[in-house]
């Protein structure tokens, strides 16, 4: 088995981890970690599968670079939303108190 395929298999497992985490965990921060894990899994499948024969393939590598940038963009937006949501929750608690 080539290293590419091995890492692609690991990617499949990571993707499944991420999906389960995204559905099962309720804390927003945990969901953010989960979708990052899910994304990393998909990236490993993309590059690993493309390099099954053992030669580097620049096309999926470039795609993963794009994907990493998209991931951090989504992570930052999600964190901003989660923090704002928490602030609203705190405000509400203060009002209720």
């Amino acid at each position: 088995m080539s290293a590419g395929l091995l890492y692609a298999l690991a990617g499949a497992a990571l993707f499944a981890f991420g999906v389960a985490g995204l559905i099962l965990r309720s804390h927003p921060l945990r969901k953010i970690l989960a979708f990052n894990v899910m994304g990393s899994g998909a990236f490993l499948v993309l590059v690993g599968l493309g390099q099954r024969d053992g030669t580097a393939d620049p096309v999926p590598q470039a795609m993963v670079l794009t994907g990493i940038v998209v991931s951090i963009a989504a992570t930052a937006l999600a964190l901003a939303l989660a923090r704002r949501q928490r602030e609203h929750g705190n405000d509400k608690e203060e009002r209720d108190a």
Binding site: L14, F17, V69, T75, Q85
Partner: protein
């Protein structure tokens, strides 16, 4: 022995990811996730993908780590509100209060069964896959001479599939817009007010920041220049720039804030505008993003330089906007 290395690395990857998602403590989860990012960078190095390893080290582990650590303090403590994906009342976890009800057990069980089935089906499918009919690496190699650069990944990123990159730069800029829209509109950004007691503890970070920031600038310049013929390029360079800004902000030397002035807004839009202008200008001679072969190298360098600046500002902005907004 190679196999031993791979298996060990994969085991560590799976373990850190799995624990990051299951450990009850959020802080531990974030640290495990940062470790996961570093291990991913090693995996990319092992997969002959140094460009991704660079990006993963700088963006995945570095910036994401800083963002998560910074957010941690704001998001911990008892959760008063559910934001479950399925429905607020049907999914709970150890982070919620109270024992889960029966439908929760059922739905959680179902989700686990589905995820396991997905993982197994994927593994089976990957093992059964025949060799692909098309070999893109060969196509890339054949077209390298006309691409204007000597490094295949850069050629794909900025020439063959440059259009993807154009949209991706827009995605990054858009995320900053969203963050500014959500975090902004409140107290204007000011340098974090540091109480006297805390000032002593900032001494070391300040020294570190003053030494590392110029170094980061140098590294960013190097990565940008290197991108034309070896791994590196605008994203990695921009990420290193952003990391320097984050360090300066942490050390109290750079104010955060979610209401950028126009010079900063111009800087944030600059890379995208240069990219768009080049994409449009070359249409006079051909089609969208078709560089004249003689100019390809220079145009790609122009775009990458603009992008490095804007990506650096944008990535830094993602951190500074949040960091400034929370310190009213």
């Amino acid at each position: 022995m190679n196999l031993a290395f791979d298996l060990l690395l994969i085991a560590a990857l799976l373990w850190s990811a799995g624990r990051a998602l299951t450990t009850p403590d959020l802080f531990r989860a974030v640290v495990l996730f940062i470790v996961f990012g570093l291990l991913m960078a090693l995996a990319w190095a092992r997969l002959d993908a140094p460009d991704i390893a660079l990006a993963e080290a700088a963006i995945g582990a570095g910036l994401t780590g800083a963002l998560l650590l910074d957010a941690l303090g704001h998001l911990r403590g008892p959760v008063r509100r559910k934001s479950g994906l399925i429905a607020p009342s049907t999914v709970m976890s150890s982070e919620g209060a109270g024992p889960p009800a029966f439908p929760t057990y059922f739905l959680n069980g179902l989700a686990i069964v589905l995820a396991v089935a997905l993982g197994l089906a994927l593994a089976g499918a990957l093992l059964l896959l025949p060799e692909p009919a098309i070999s893109l690496p060969r196509e890339v190699a054949a077209a390298m001479d006309a691409s204007g650069v000597a490094h295949p990944v850069t050629a794909v990123l900025l020439n063959f599939r440059g259009y993807d990159t154009l949209l991706e730069v827009a995605v990054l800029w858009l995320a900053l817009l969203g963050v500014l829209a959500v975090a902004g509109g409140r107290a204007p950004g000011r340098a974090p007010v540091t109480p006297r007691s805390a000032r002593a503890s900032l001494k070391v970070p300040r020294l570190l920041a003053r030494v590392l920031a110029p170094l980061a600038l140098l590294v960013a310049g190097y990565l940008l220049w290197a991108g034309a013929h070896q791994p590196g390029g605008a994203f990695q360079a921009g990420a290193v720039l952003a990391a320097a800004a984050v360090l300066l902000n942490l050390a109290g030397l750079l104010p955060g804030g979610a209401t950028p002035r126009w010079v900063l807004r111009a800087g944030l839009g600059f890379g995208l505008l240069v990219f768009l202008a080049v994409a449009a200008a070359v249409m006079g001679q051909g089609v969208l993003l078709q560089y004249p072969p003689a100019w390809a190298g220079a145009l790609i360098m122009l775009i990458e330089t603009g992008l490095t600046l804007s990506i650096g500002l944008t990535l830094a902005g993602l951190f500074l906007a949040l960091s400034g907004a929370s310190r009213q």
